[in-house]
Point group: C2
């Protein structure tokens, strides 16, 4: 990338201070109003008052907008597993990971809206399952780094994702008023009790 191009990008960011956020907001509105399949990148850009070119500077496609937070969530989880005290058990390390990502789940309205969109489209559900499957693999990798052997590392990675998934489902369920962290700890305790 040339210096001129880098300068141009900086200027764009300066003049459109939150294009990315505006695109995400517009996409959520349109996916909810018209349906995910029926919404185009051009329409999202238009609603955000931006060009289609700007859309594609920020996102590979409309689908990826819904999974924008995945790499950060994954990193948070893995860092917390890696950063748990040396004498923490594998279960405690995974609990630290689940606690770390709880910080992600505070805006219930947003998460409910996003989940309704995902539930409406088979390809989005598949994408979500792929992300969960990858997260399970990287958790297992972080556990192996701590000296946890196989198959324990992979089994615990899968169980952690199970707890994560169940607690998230309860959190976004209609009528729920409890926080994600509380639900997650309840599911973790259930996992412990039921396998004891």
């Amino acid at each position: 990338m040339s210096a001129a191009v880098i300068k141009y990008d900086h200027d764009m960011v300066r003049w459109q201070p939150d294009s990315r956020g505006r695109l995400e907001q517009a996409a959520m509105e349109l996916f909810t109003e018209r349906g995910f399949e029926q919404t185009t990148a051009a329409q999202i850009a238009e609603r955000a008052g931006l060009t289609e070119r700007t859309f594609f500077r920020h996102f590979a496609d409309k689908r990826e907008m819904l999974f924008d937070g995945s790499p950060r969530l994954q990193q948070l989880f893995v860092d917390a597993v890696a950063g748990a005290p040396a004498d923490a058990s594998p279960f405690e390390a995974v609990t630290a990971g689940l606690d770390a990502v709880s910080a992600f789940f505070v805006d219930l309205d947003h998460s409910r809206g996003r989940q309704a969109i995902i539930d409406s489209d088979a390809s989005l559900q598949e994408r979500e399952l792929i992300k969960m499957s990858r997260l399970s693999s990287v958790i297992a990798g972080a556990l192996r780094e701590r000296g946890v052997t196989e198959p324990a590392a992979s089994v615990l990675g899968q169980a952690a994702i199970g707890v994560f998934h169940v607690a998230f489902g309860q959190w976004v369920a209609p009528g729920n008023t409890r926080g994600y962290a509380e639900l997650m700890h309840e599911s973790l305790a259930e996992l412990r009790a039921i396998t004891a």
Copy 2:
């Protein structure tokens, strides 16, 4: 369906005693030789010495051929959970389910070949994750039928699928010579130990 049509179907079955098995065998060969994406239903039918029309009497599409056993596996699992003794713990009921489906995993060459095809195609991996996710849901449902409350039922359903998945991966891994049931019980024991 008229009696005449039923009679015709019977005749077809009589004259082509194992069309379904021949189609499956041909598909596995072609998927392995040419790749899943590059193989058509017409080519599978031709290799099996049958017509394309016969192919579509047996399968909705080539993708579904690889997941032909899923409904039976799901039924076996759920029946075993439901049929566990009344005083069996939820963990014991799920173990009975995992034991029941072990009967599925005896032909290692076939399972390795199938897995290699699935690993080669993103859409097949997604389909497999969807099937696993559904299996987890029906296991949770079978546990609720036994009086297990939420979120315990869903957490255990997810953990069971995790064990199932990890043990299957170990079983088809290059060089493995241990049986599926043995690997599955080892993973179950690890789940117990690591959450204790």
